[in-house]
């Protein structure tokens, strides 16, 4: 178990390191950053002065080491668009809003998906099961931003039940959370269904029935507990989908989180902020993967010896 954790942790560190290379490369390979920073009429001595100031006259690997050293301290430079703010500071400022929305979206999708998934496994091949299948299919074909626009149009513009955009109380969160959680709802539903089907077929479930337990207890206590191991691994993927989805969802609903921040930063070509967001998002993603893998290895001993 310990060896497995060490090996997995090493892989994660490696992934974060490769990511730093990509982030550094992204800003360098596409041309001289000085061309963007300096006005057109700048002479060669201006170039020299500014390039000395930013350390751009040093060899590339030295530049990378400096970048890495600063990045390790959480320093990604200052933003060009939002003057006087550090890139990392902006990300930290916006992160709570994103996490709040993602958490709520996850909660909503689990609350919806779990019972539907269980019921469609119990009532396999009935009309209910088909309906659930259609909902799941739609969840994977509809683009998130479309759902956001339609929800906004019906519930905010026409019916006026919820505000169209911004961040505030719970009512501000409902539409963005449904939009963000839509895809996971479909995926969790399918996953719960297939693992429930597997468990419902096993010997110990027959035993619980022979013991004379009520159907309710058999399904919701004994089966669900065993069936929930498999969907657990999916949570690492969900973390990625939620963060990717937050970019689109937040820009539809003007939710002031990191997703909206990165869209604004990309549009303004503010690469310090983009770098910081990419690092933070990928860091969260890699960390979730690591935690889920360790938790999974703990729950299912077969994984450790692969």
């Amino acid at each position: 178990m310990q060896r497995y954790i060490v090996r997995r942790a090493f892989q994660s560190v490696l992934a974060i390191w490769v990511m730093s290379l990509v982030v550094f490369g992204l800003a360098r390979v596409t041309g001289n950053p000085l061309d963007v920073m300096l006005p057109l009429e700048a002479g060669p001595e201006d170039y020299e002065r500014v390039s000395k100031h930013w350390g751009l006259d040093k060899p590339l690997y030295i530049q990378y080491l400096i970048f890495l050293g600063k990045a390790l301290q959480g320093d990604f430079g200052t933003s060009w668009k939002w003057h006087g703010h550090s890139a990392m500071g902006l990300v930290w400022e916006r992160l709570p809003a994103t996490l709040q929305l993602a958490g709520f979206a996850l909660f909503v999708s689990v609350v919806i998906a779990l019972p539907i998934g269980v019921l469609s496994a119990v009532m396999k091949d009935t009309a209910w099961d088909t309906l659930a299948k259609i909902i799941a299919l739609m969840g994977q074909s509809l683009p998130g931003f479309w759902l956001g626009i339609v929800l906004m149009w019906i519930f905010a513009v026409h019916l006026g039940w919820f505000p169209t955009s911004g961040r505030g109380g719970l009512e501000y969160m409902v539409l963005p959370a449904i939009t963000l959680g839509w895809f996971q709802t479909a995926a969790i539903m399918r996953l719960v269904r297939s693992s429930m089907l597997e468990v419902l077929d096993s010997e110990f479930v027959k035993l619980t029935r022979i013991k004379g337990l009520s159907e309710w207890k058999v399904v919701w206590k004994h089966c669900l507990r065993n069936a929930s191991i498999a969907p657990l691994t999916f949570f690492a993927i969900i973390a990625g989908v939620l963060m990717t989805g937050s970019v689109v969802t937040e820009s539809v609903f003007s939710w002031p989180g990191t997703g909206l921040l990165v869209v604004d930063a990309v549009r303004a070509r503010d690469f310090q902020v983009v770098q910081a967001v990419v690092i933070v998002f990928a860091g969260i993603f890699i960390l979730t993967n690591l935690l889920v893998d360790i938790l999974y290895a703990y729950l299912d001993p077969r994984i450790r010896y692969r």
Binding site: P143, I149, M243, V262, R267, V278
Partner: protein, 301 residues
């Protein structure tokens, strides 16, 4: 005591129905056994026709503006209405299919090439090269995909060629993992060992013996990948980082017209979205059916 071999039944080869090659057989079996896949295939076919014959199907140009005819709702002349510049929405959706397919097919072609080359090389080469390549793939998959694509696109600048290249490379790296898995299992077959004993070189083994067996998997992965690529292109265009404005794209139509004029002209948001969802749904269904028919091993993945 001699071991007596069981009698071999004599089969009259001429009595069997003529064997169809697998690429024809797939379509016949799909029509018979996969109704959803057939529906998906039909949607894809309609989209293909719309993309090819867009010029013939509509009397308007995709960027033909008419300021007197702004925000007209659906009528006989403009079946799906007009947008904020008086452009015909149906026309733009038809041309949008062309761009979507252009980017989608281009990216999937690039992606399949990369996935095949990387996957087979990694599986066949094995050893350190395999270990190194797989760690790189791991690291790539650790990125939230849309975010990294956004940053790359903003650096390269939005253009049809750029988005095709970027989406293709991204898909190729992701899909190489699947190709590698299949190639690994094919590599272990005795006929590979046999052909090596007969003196085949590495190039011959990979191209003549491994590649044809990986091909069904690649087709399946490419078809399902197409819907992902189209959806990602739409998301990027929606954010203004995909295909640049003069070209009509479904994602771009949603963002430019849909959000700003939702109160006044809701059809501007609805129709491109319907087209997009239908296309994604069609490719998903077709891909699922192809997977079941060509490569059942990938099921449930």
């Amino acid at each position: 005591m001699a071991i007596v071999a069981p009698p071999v039944p004599v089969v009259d080869a001429y009595a069997l129905p003529p064997a169809r090659p697998w690429y024809t057989d797939v379509w016949v079996r799909m029509l018979r056994r996969k109704p959803l896949g057939t529906v998906g295939g039909a949607i894809v076919l309609v989209m293909l026709l719309a993309a090819v014959f867009a010029d013939v199907l509509t009397p308007y140009g995709f960027s033909q503006t008419s300021l007197r005819e702004r925000f007209i709702s659906m009528n006989a002349e403009h079946w799906l209405g007009t947008d904020q510049l008086g452009r015909d929405v149906l026309t733009r959706i038809l041309y949008g299919a062309r761009i979507s397919l252009y980017v989608g097919l281009g990216a999937v072609a690039i992606g399949s090439l990369i996935a095949t080359a990387l996957g087979i090389f990694s599986a066949y080469g094995g050893g350190r090269a395999d270990l190194f390549l797989q760690r790189v793939v791991d690291a790539w998959m650790a990125f939230p995909p849309l975010l990294i694509l956004m940053s790359i696109m903003s650096l390269l600048g939005p253009s049809v060629l750029n988005i095709t290249l970027v989406l293709g490379v991204a898909a190729g790296i992701r899909e190489s993992r699947i190709v590698r898995g299949v190639a690994l299992s094919i590599k272990e077959n005795t006929y590979i060992e046999g052909t090596r004993a007969l003196g085949s070189g590495h190039v011959r083994i990979t191209l003549v013996h491994i590649l044809p067996n990986v091909l069904p998997t690649i087709i399946v992965v490419a078809t399902t990948g197409l819907s992902t690529v189209i959806l990602t292109e739409a998301s990027l265009s929606f954010l203004g980082l995909g295909v640049p404005p003069p070209y009509p794209t479904w994602g771009g139509m949603l963002s430019l017209a849909g959000l700003d004029h939702m109160y006044r002209a809701p059809w501007l948001a609805i129709w491109p979205a319907v087209a997009l969802s239908l296309a994604v749904f069609g490719f998903n269904m077709l891909g699922d059916a192809l997977r079941d028919l060509l490569d059942p091993r990938l099921k449930g993945g």
